[in-house]
Each structure stands twice: as structure tokens, then as C-alpha cells.
């Protein structure tokens, strides 16, 4: 029997085939103990092989932390067991794929994963529960249909994304598809993109106003633009740089208002070179391009990029694709028609209202397939591939809203397409509405997840699905986005109603919570980021949504948008709206709130109990932490009133207050002098590593130190926004540290004596 390598020989790009062979050898070397685990970890990440929850062998089963007895002790990275199943991310540049590729993805999901294909918020696919030994054959089978997993993860150029309606959009300047494709190909494995300290994301959009490209949240965002020169229309791009979500979100800044099409690739290359040379390498928390631009200033960054451009060795690939741009076109299966007298099946009108986009090309439509939580089965994927063959030709796109778009559907075919989608269980309406909740994997599979984003999203979907069309239209078209933690993979900052997972400890029991984030803007390519207004228990979030949306409907003025409504009523009122839902009933009264959606395990770690001495100190600290939360909220109010100096000052005070809360667990007489608090905090919690959890490290403490040591020279909206985000994260970290100390104390471990002396207690 031939192997996949033998069977697919000649059908794979030779370079990719060789790379996969090398990776297979690296797997063998690691198994033989001849490759360092850290080196292997980065190697596999650059091939898209990611770790999953519980791959460290520890799992709390609701009663105790259980050691998962994997067959071998071999690791595929620090604290990552070899035998633990992982995730395989698969890059789909600009989300474009054809039916044969989708068929292959379906086969891989069945044979190596759990039968499910998951579409991500960056137009990738993910397979979960994959064994590392199977990944070379997965990669070969993908390569045979023109897909690579190279640089799907790791410190590299990630999937290049683009509007899924590029080329059929009614408001775009021109089709960005061939440019996105060229950028993805050019930067894949490019030598200038191998020395990054962090990932690098590129997005393309055909216009400024819509949301589809989300360019504002990317390291490099390219928006199509045209200019008239000597009577001829010249194509180019507005280029934005330094955007990003993550823990500390930043809007991308306009770097160049018109980059001619033949200068686009060298510009991206130049940006990459500056980033590789000057970007942070050691501290991952400050290693994204946005931090480099903040540090240098946009003008200096632009100057460095311009200088780099001047010395770049010429490369024919910069412009060799451009003659093909004019020839780029997609061939529809059927000619243009109109929806006239066709019999329309039951449910069609609602589906048509939310899921069908009338293309720029007369007689054609793009139809969105709503994928609940971004998931579809292998069987459904094959059915979608067949429907694409039957109705559209080769035209499929994944979307950042975790759906699939069928383009170039002749309009008269829409009823038949809807019937077939219904048979496949894919005919649900609601694409792009409040029902179409976006969620990252969260605690389902992600190692960093704190709360169940998918569980919550599923609950919201099930509550809203029956009454979607009974909702006021202004509510129906809102966006909900949920992340399992502050890292924002669910893009909660740009939702109308955003949520990110966190936890709180009350009476020594942990309760899953979500921060409520309001004020984000989906339109204008993610034009504004929302801010957190407070935490509510996970089980209260659906009620919070009902309450906020009901008030919006009641008090909306004319055509006021949700974002404008939130701005008008102000943060204080927003906070007041969620306060009734913040209360946590006693465990004995309502145990349901002490577990997460779709997970019956109690949201606790071990059998907790707190000694009397530590308990007293913790009570004082909790009070201080609550005060810190209040201060950061006050900072938001000042930001809202454009008092940036006050906002900065309050956010800084919030951080020192939270630091003081922790210091008091060891040194109760620390006082309120900021210099003393910061010094004591540094020696007791930063230098000792006590603050950092295993994933975040001490990065959040650096926010405090930076602000303490270098107060801002000028106060701007961006600076105030950033310091508030940082303060919020710092407070979250102090909460986590505080809980960890309490648990250790409860287990009888030495935490630290409470004393009035000044010597720092090293732990």
C-alpha cells in the first residue's frame, strides 16, 4: 500500500512537499530526543500545530485535579505532552476556497479530527483533537489541493484576510482579491518575515465604510483607493499600520493615504523588515507591531520604513502579478437571472432577508451559510461543496463572522439553494444579525480560556433563535462577540455587545464571569473599540443582553445607532444597567451560577478553604481590589468626558490601588505612597514571579511600572484609552494572584507572614 507521500507525489508544490518532509523528520528527531522541546514547539507552531487545553496532563474533573496518564512522558513543547491531542490551523488566504479543497478538508476532519470543521474569525479552518504524528499527512493532502498550513501560527505572517464580498461588493473601489492573494503568496516564508518577535496580520478591504475587512485591527490594513493621474484611473491603497486587539487593543493609524499598486508589496516587505529589526523579541506582551509604533511614533516609524524601502533589493514579484489582476475573474455556473415567479419554500423570505446579498453584478447574489458557532460537519462540508459545484462554480469564501459565503448564485436559483441547504441542516437565517454570535473556542479547547465563550454563545443563540424576527429591527442587526479571556480572539472589542471571560471568587468559591464591553463599532472596518463597564456572572449574561437591548428599543431617539445610544446615556448609566445582574447568590441558594454554560463541573479549583489569618487579610485586599475597579471605571467616565489627563490619573491610581491590595497580603502597613507601593510590589510580586500566571507571565505588572516610571508627556484619547485597558488587565491579574494566594494558604502552604516590617517576603 503506498503512503500519502507516494500517492500524492507530483501533485504537491515541490517546495511545500519538501517542507513537510522536513517537518516529518523534525517530529522523528523530537521523538528520539534529538531536538529541544522549545525549538520543536516553535517549529510545529509555524506549521499550524497548536496546543489544546489539558495538554499539560492536568484536568480538574469537578471534584479534584486529575493527572491524565498519557502513554509517554515525551513532550512537544514545555509542559505539553506529546500524546495529548492538539489543534491544526489551516490558512485560507482571503477566505477563498474551491469545492475540491472543501472536500479534502472534510476528509481530514473525519479521519484525523472529530468530524468537525471550525471556521475562525480570521477566515482559517481549525481541526481539533489531532495527533501530532498525523500532521504531515494532513499537510500533504492539503498541499495536493493547493493549501498550506505554513505560518498559520507562530511568530509569522498569519493568514491574509479580505472582505468575503470582494469583487461582488456594491460599494468597493475595486476587487482586492488578487492583491490579497499576491500579498499572501509573497510574504509566505519570506526571509524578511522570519525574525519577528510576534505574529503579523494583514487585511484587505475594498472600502472604508463597511466592516468586512476589519482593517483597523490589523498590523497592516490595506483599503482600496483610486486616484486620477493624467486622466487615467490609478489603483492603490490607503495603508494603515499598528492595529490589533489582544489584551491592549489599538486602532491602526493611517501611514500612507495612497500606495500605488506596484508599491504595495515592497511597502509590506519594508514594514516587515523594520518590525523584524526593531520589534521587541524578549517580552511577548510588548512585541506586536503596535507597540513598536507607539514607542517610535508614527512619523519615525514611517521614516524608517521609507529608508528601508530605498535600500530593498529589487524583486520582480512586486509587480509581476499585476498584469494578471485585470484578467482575474470568477466564472459563475449559471447566467444572470431574477427572482420572479419561482415558488418560494417556507422560511425562504426570512433567510433571504438576512442571508442574501445582492451582488454588484445584475442577476447574481451571494448567499451566506450560517454556521452555528462556526462549525460544520464533514458531511455538511461535502454537501456545501456539491452545492457550490451545482450553483456557483468555484466560488466559496469563509467570513470573519465564521460563516461560509456562496458567491455568484444566479438569483432564480436561490429557492433551490435554500431547499438544499435546509436538507443539509444549513438553512438557518440570521447571518450577520444578533443571532450570529461570534465566539472563540474559549474553555472548550483553548489553553488560555477562562470562561466558556462557546457555551455562552450557544445559550444566547438558542434563546434568540425563536424570536429573531420578533425583535425590533434595530436590535436584530446588532453584533454580539464573545472571547473566553481578555485576548480577544472573539473580537469582543468591536461588537455592539462584547463579552470576555474572567473569574471572581466569592466566599472562597470561583464563579465564571464575563466583562461586559460596550461601545465597539463593527462598521468602518472596526472603527471603534468598546470598553469594559463591569463584570457579571456568566449565567446572567443572557439577561443582561435582554435588559440592555430592551432599554435601547425604549429610549432610542429616531435612527440612533446602538453605539450612539451607549455614548449618549454614558458609562454611569451603562454600569447601572448591569448592576442588578452582578449579585451572586450564596452557593447554598443557587449552585447553578457556580458552574459555566454547558459544563456541569463546579467552576472551582480544588477543595478550597481559607485560614482565619489569611482570610482577614484577604478581606482587606478584596476591598482594595474592588476600589481599584471603581477607580478604573471612574477613569472611563473621564475618558467619556474627554478629560484625558484625569482619565490617565485615575487609571494609574487604580493600578497602584490594586498593587497595594496585593502588597497588603504580606505587608499590611505599606501605606499609600505610590513610590513605596510600586517598590514593594516589584520586590514581592514581580521579582518573585508571584504575580504572573504561566501564560501571561509578569507582563501586566509592566504596565504599572511603565506608567509609574514614565508618566505621559501629553494626554490624548489613545493614551487614555490604552492606560485604561492596561489598568483593567492589571487588576484582573491582581485578582488572579490574590485567588492563587488564597488557595495556597488554604492548602496549608506558606504564603507569607502578615507583618508590619518592610522586608519583602520572598516566597
Amino acid at each position: 500500500m503506498p503512503t500519502w507521500k507516494e500517492k500524492l507525489a507530483g501533485r504537491m508544490d515541490p517546495q511545500i512537499a519538501e517542507e513537510v518532509d522536513v517537518f516529518e523528520t523534525q517530529i522523528a528527531l523530537r521523538k528520539a530526543g534529538k531536538m529541544d522541546e522549545k525549538v520543536f514547539a516553535e517549529t510545529r507552531l509555524r506549521r499550524g500545530c497548536y496546543g489544546q487545553r489539558y495538554d499539560n496532563g492536568h484536568r480538574h474533573d469537578g471534584v479534584r485535579t486529575q493527572q491524565l496518564e498519557f502513554p509517554s512522558d515525551l513532550t512537544k513543547g514545555p509542559e505539553t505532552f506529546w500524546d495529548a491531542p492538539g489543534m491544526q490551523r489551516i490558512k485560507i488566504p482571503f477566505g477563498g476556497l474551491n469545492p475540491d479543497q472543501l472536500d479534502t478538508l472534510a476528509e481530514l476532519a473525519e479521519e484525523y479530527s472529530d468530524g468537525i470543521l471550525h471556521v475562525t474569525t480570521r477566515q482559517d479552518f481549525q481541526l481539533h483533537y489531532v495527533h501530532i504524528e498525523d500532521t504531515p499527512n494532513i499537510m500533504r493532502r492539503l498541499a495536493a489541493v493547493g493549501i498550506t498550513t505554513r505560518e498559520a501560527c507562530g511568530n509569522s505572517v498569519r493568514n491574509v484576510t479580505a472582505c468575503p464580498i470582494a469583487g461582488v461588493c456594491r460599494s468597493e473601489s475595486f476587487d482586492v482579491t488578487p492583491y490579497a492573494k499576491a500579498a499572501a503568496k509573497f510574504m509566505l516564508g519570506h526571509p524578511d518575515a522570519q525574525g519577528f518577535g510576534r505574529k503579523f496580520k494583514i487585511a484587505f478591504s475594498g472600502c472604508r465604510e463597511e466592516a468586512c475587512g476589519l482593517t483597523s485591527l490589523h498590523d497592516v490594513g490595506c483599503i482600496a483607493a483610486t486616484r486620477s493621474e493624467n486622466g487615467n484611473e490609478k489603483r492603490g491603497f490607503e495603508v494603515y499600520v499598528g492595529g490589533g486587539l489582544g489584551a491592549v487593543p489599538q486602532q491602526a493609524k493611517l501611514m500612507n493615504d495612497f500606495v500605488a499598486e506596484d508599491e504595495l508589496l515592497p511597502l509590506i516587505q519594508s514594514i516587515g523588515r523594520v518590525f523584524a529589526r526593531l520589534g521587541e523579541k524578549k517580552n511577548r506582551a510588548a512585541a506586536r507591531l503596535k507597540f513598536l509604533i507607539t514607542k517610535l511614533g508614527l512619523d519615525e516609524f514611517r521614516r524608517l520604513v521609507d529608508e528601508e524601502r530605498k535600500i530593498l533589493p529589487a524583486d520582480s514579484r512586486w509587480s509581476s502579478y499585476i498584469p494578471d489582476v485585470a484578467r482575474y475573474q470568477e466564472s459563475p455556473k449559471h447566467g444572470p437571472t431574477h427572482l420572479n415567479g419561482q415558488q418560494r419554500p417556507e422560511g425562504f423570505e426570512k433567510w433571504h432577508l438576512t442571508n442574501v446579498y445582492r451582488q454588484r453584478q445584475e442577476g447574481y447574489a451571494a448567499a451566506a451559510i450560517t454556521l452555528p458557532l462556526g462549525d460544520l460537519t464533514a458531511a455538511q462540508a461535502r454537501q456545501v461543496a456539491n452545492l457550490a459545484r451545482r450553483f456557483t462554480g468555484d466560488n466559496l469564501r469563509t467570513t470573519v463572522e465564521q460563516n461560509i459565503l456562496l458567491r455568484w448564485v444566479s438569483e432564480a436559483d436561490l429557492p433551490d439553494l435554500y431547499r438544499e441547504l435546509g436538507r443539509a441542516g444549513l438553512g438557518e437565517p440570521g447571518a450577520g444579525t444578533i443571532l450570529d454570535v461570534v465566539a472563540c473556542p474559549g474553555t472548550d479547547t483553548c489553553k488560555l480560556g477562562i470562561a466558556s465563550s462557546r457555551g455562552l454563545a450557544g445559550e444566547i443563540r438558542s434563546r434568540l433563535s425563536e424570536r429573531l424576527f420578533a425583535l425590533d429591527e434595530s436590535v436584530r442587526n446588532l453584533h454580539i462577540k464573545i472571547s473566553g479571556c481578555f485576548n480577544s480572539c472573539g473580537q469582543h472589542h468591536i461588537a455592539d455587545l462584547g463579552f470576555y471571560g474572567t473569574s471572581r471568587t466569592i466566599a472562597n468559591r470561583k464563579i465564571p464571569h464575563f466583562q461586559v464591553v460596550l461601545g465597539g463599532k463593527w462598521q468602518d472596518n472596526a472603527g471603534a473599540y468598546g470598553l469594559a463597564i463591569g463584570t457579571v456572572p456568566s449565567k446572567r449574561v443572557p439577561d443582561v443582553i435582554d435588559s440592555i437591548t430592551a432599554r435601547y428599543v425604549r429610549e432610542r431617539k429616531g435612527t440612533e445607532t446602538f453605539q450612539a445610544f451607549i455614548k449618549r446615556i454614558g458609562k454611569q448609566e451603562c454600569r447601572a444597567m448591569i448592576e442588578p445582574f452582578m449579585e451572586v447568590p450564596a452557593y447554598e441558594k443557587d449552585r447553578s451560577i457556580y458552574s459555566d454554560w454547558g459544563d456541569p463541573r463546579e467552576f472551582t479549583i480544588g477543595d478550597m478553604g481559607v485560614g482565619e489569618c489569611a482570610g482577614e487579610v484577604i478581606s482587606v485586599s478584596q476591598f482594595d481590589l474592588a476600589d481599584a475597579e471603581r477607580l478604573v471605571f471612574d477613569a472611563q467616565l473621564q475618558l467619556e468626558h474627554e478629560n484625558y489627563t484625569q482619565a490617565d490619573s485615575l487609571a494609574y491610581r487604580a493600578m497602584t490601588q490594586a498593587a497595594m491590595a496585593l502588597v497588603k497580603t504580606q505587608f499590611i502597613d505599606v501605606g499609600d505612597n505610590a513610590d513605596v507601593i510600586v517598590a514593594e510590589f516589584r520586590s514581592r510580586f514581580f521579582d518573585t514571579g508571584l504575580l504572573g500566571d504561566r501564560y501571561a507571565g509578569n507582563k501586566f505588572a509592566e504596565y504599572l511600572f511603565r506608567r509609574h516610571d514614565s508618566p505621559p508627556q501629553e494626554h490624548t484619547i489613545d493614551q487614555a484609552h490604552r492606560i485604561i485597558e492596561e489598568a483593567q488587565l492589571f487588576i484582573e491579574a491582581t485578582y488572579a494572584c490574590h485567588d492563587s494566594l488564597a488557595e495556597r494558604g488554604a492548602r496549608g502552604m506558606v504564603v507569607a507572614p502578615v507583618h508590619s516590617g518592610k522586608a519583602a517576603g520572598k516566597l
Partner: protein, 176 residues
């Protein structure tokens, strides 16, 4: 044939009585007690939001168990992912035994009754076992012998479930 990726499904007696969400705590309980011999039970995944999907999935290092809803026919599905170092017939028998054990546990812990007179054996490897008559002819004797090991004395009819070359080779098993 080096076929270690193999799945076995037994169908529920009363599909209407199944409430998928009820399975979540049951599977968590199985992890707590690590009740399936030879398996490191890792996690539970809720796919109940997908029509005709894997339903509720219990992930183990060696294979996945699920209260599967494929084709609209609920049942206990077990997919083996790792080799066992056993000869082909014994390997298949081990997979069937694991599925039978899970069925018994399901009936005991979740009151979900599973019929043992009809099943499906799926060769989950398109390279080793393409969906054609030749592969069926090769695989059928091993499956029949394995069933004899697990259900001594019972007789079964084995037939190819579908002929679509894109689908995996699946063998319908009917007790006679």
C-alpha cells in the same frame, strides 16, 4: 491492510427519548472515574448545536466516543485513533468491545438503551481502505471474525452501506 482507524456505531433503541444535554454530566462522570479500560479520557465537547453532528463527544487519547446524531440516527459511536499492536481481527474486536462497554455504561448511567442487533463499521482511512468492493472483500472476513469474538455464536449479515467513493467504506452489520 494496516487499518487502525476504525469506527463502530450501535444505534439507540428509542431515539426520541434522547436529550443530548443530559449526556454532558454523564460523560464528565466517566472522566472523573476513568471508567473505560485502556483509555485516557480527556474532555467532553458539546456539538449539540449541529444538525446530524457528533452530538456530545467524549474525547480520549486512544479514540473518541460520542452520542452521535449522524444521518439522523442517534447511537453510540466509537472511533479508534491509535494502533493497538494487535492483529487485524483482534484489533477490530477490541474496538467493538470498547464500543459495547460504552453502550452498557450509557444504558446504566444515562438510561439510553442501545440495540445490539444492528451496527455500522466504518473504515476511517481513505488511503488504506478506499470505498470499493475490493476493500470490502478484504475487510469483511476480519470484521466477521471480530464480531464472532465479541458475540460468540451470533450470526451477522455484512453489506456495504454506500458506494460513493468520496465517503468512507462503511459496512452495515445486521444480526440474523
Amino acid at each position: 491492510m494496516e487499518l487502525h482507524r476504525l469506527g463502530v456505531k450501535f444505534f439507540a433503541s428509542d431515539p426520541a427519548s434522547i436529550h443530548l444535554e443530559d449526556l454532558i454530566p454523564v460523560f464528565h462522570g466517566w472522566i472523573q472515574r476513568q471508567v473505560i479500560p485502556g483509555h485516557v479520557l480527556i474532555d467532553v465537547h458539546d456539538y449539540s448545536h449541529i444538525q446530524n453532528g457528533p452530538g456530545i463527544l467524549l474525547v480520549a487519547h486512544e479514540g473518541n466516543f460520542s452520542l452521535d446524531m449522524s444521518d439522523g440516527r442517534p447511537g453510540l459511536f466509537y472511533y479508534r485513533k491509535t494502533p493497538t499492536a494487535l492483529p487485524a481481527t483482534e484489533h477490530i474486536a477490541a474496538i467493538v468491545k470498547s464500543a459495547v462497554q460504552a453502550c452498557a455504561l450509557l444504558e446504566k448511567d444515562a438510561k439510553v438503551a442501545i440495540k445490539m442487533d444492528e451496527g455500522l463499521v466504518i473504515a476511517n482511512d481513505r488511503l488504506e481502505a478506499p470505498n470499493d468492493e475490493a476493500t470490502l472483500a478484504e475487510l469483511k472476513p476480519a470484521v466477521a471474525a471480530a464480531l464472532q469474538q465479541v458475540f460468540p455464536g451470533a450470526a451477522f449479515n455484512l453489506s456495504r452501506a454506500n458506494s460513493d467513493p468520496k465517503e468512507r467504506l462503511a459496512i452495515t452489520v445486521q444480526r440474523v
